[in-house]
Amino acid sequence: MDSRIIEIIINAFWDMLKQGIVVTIPLTVISFSIAMVIALVVAVVQVANIKVLKQLARFYVWVIRGTPLLVQLFVVFFGLPSIGIVIDAFPSAIIVFSINTGAYASETIRAAIESVPKGQFEAGYCVGMNYVQIMWRIIMPQALKTAFPPLSNSLIGLIKDTSLAASITVVDMFMVAQRVAAATYETFILYCEVALIYLMFCTVLTKLQTYFEKKLKD
């Protein structure tokens, strides 16, 4: 390997890592946090069987899970302006990733809530608690424990999916890789390099997941 390539690899590494830290990670963390709030609400609305809201929740999950993430990004960033709604690239990405991950995560949480034995509810009622108290103090803590591994999975999925934001002009880690690749023609090396940085991020997340799963167990 000649020194030119080594220099490209090293320079690109810092540029990509920097963009990873200032764009990819915030994009992931913010979107995931909002997604969790959406998911909780959408799941609880369904489990609690709240009439109109439940239908709305089902509709939301149906539409979001039934359409490609990339298309959703295009609809919000390139589509909405044509009907007069202009949103910058980064907030567009946040909106789409939040809504998208929220739909999947709501199904995870709903399933987790439904996996809590019915007897937990009945015992709560029998000691005089009401629905909200039981949900909050008895059911949710158990459900979130069950939901933790699949939700970690969604988080790991999301950090990789944020690379799609490059296609709506967000200058994230992947966009940097594309630019350097275009300028240097070292496409193979640079795309492999950015893949490695994603792998690094995901490895950290996986380690964290293992650690917290262990903690939740005891």
């Binding site: 007897g119 029998c126 008895i138």
Partner: protein, 245 residues
């Protein structure tokens, strides 16, 4: 103190309770016997509104309630006068023994934590679990879990406690530790309605025995009446099957 009149309940068109009348006085220990599927569990669950009823009247402390059409508020208030012990314990999985017992006091009855834990400690001591306060359900044997459930039931000092086959999920060697606790409660004068297959308990501890058959009360009376001189053929058959078994 508590009376049920003409209670009916169906599941998808199948009538499971076909007009139950039941009178409970303070201090009564009523054992409900009957073969599987006769409606015993459903009766208890309707009485605590875990199942809705199609029709029936409940008179509790002089107040009358239409069981087929009762408000959430009434259900809520009535449940606070009662407690329920389930066949499979149903302890809160995410809470320790102490928290299981205190939860209802703190959350539903808004009792100050200190007072609630003090009462819970006493309740757990009473069922012989003074060394298990901080254990989670999964760290306890079935018999211990059921005793926590009983502590949870008595801690609020309910007017009546419903037991649905409290020893049926237990290994034989653990049954007595639970029955002994229940015997103590009976001696203290607690009002209890117990669905059970423990004939010795029904015979020796209860003040009244009810035999259910096919959604109806087929026969009721003192333990002597039921065990020594059953009037119904079916009651005699049921009891002799148990004597043999």
């Amino acid at each position: 103190m508590l009376e049920i009149k003409d209670l009916h309940k169906s599941f998808d068109g199948l009538e499971v309770l076909k007009g139950i009348d039941l009178k409970v006085d303070k201090g009564d220990v009523i054992s409900i016997l009957g073969s599987s599927g006769s409606g015993k569990t459903t009766l208890l669950r309707c009485m605590n509104f875990l199942n809705s009823s199609d029709k029936g009247t409940m008179i509790f402390d002089g107040e009358s309630y239409d069981m087929g059409n009762i408000s959430k508020k009434d259900i809520f208030n009535l449940r606070k006068k009662t407690a329920f012990v389930f066949q499979n314990y149903n302890l809160f999985i995410n809470k320790t023994a102490m928290q299981n017992v205190a939860e209802g006091l703190i959350v539903a009855r808004k009792m100050p934590k200190e007072e609630a834990y003090e009462k819970s400690r006493k309740a757990l001591d009473k069922v012989g679990l003074s060394d298990r306060y901080d254990y989670y359900p999964r760290q306890l044997s079935g018999g211990q879990q059921q005793r926590v459930a009983i502590a949870r039931a008595i801690v609020s000092d309910p007017e009546v406690i419903y037991f649905d086959e409290p020893t049926s999920s237990l290994d034989p060697e653990l049954i007595n530790e639970v029955l002994n606790v229940m015997r103590d409660l009976a001696k203290e004068g607690r009002t209890m309605i117990v669905v059970t297959h423990e004939m010795n308990f029904a015979r020796n501890v209860s003040s009244k025995v009810i035999f259910m058959e096919n959604g109806k009360i087929a026969e009721e009376g003192s333990p002597e009446d039921i065990f020594e001189h059953p009037k119904q053929e079916r009651t005699a058959q049921f009891l002799s099957a148990y004597r043999k078994g």
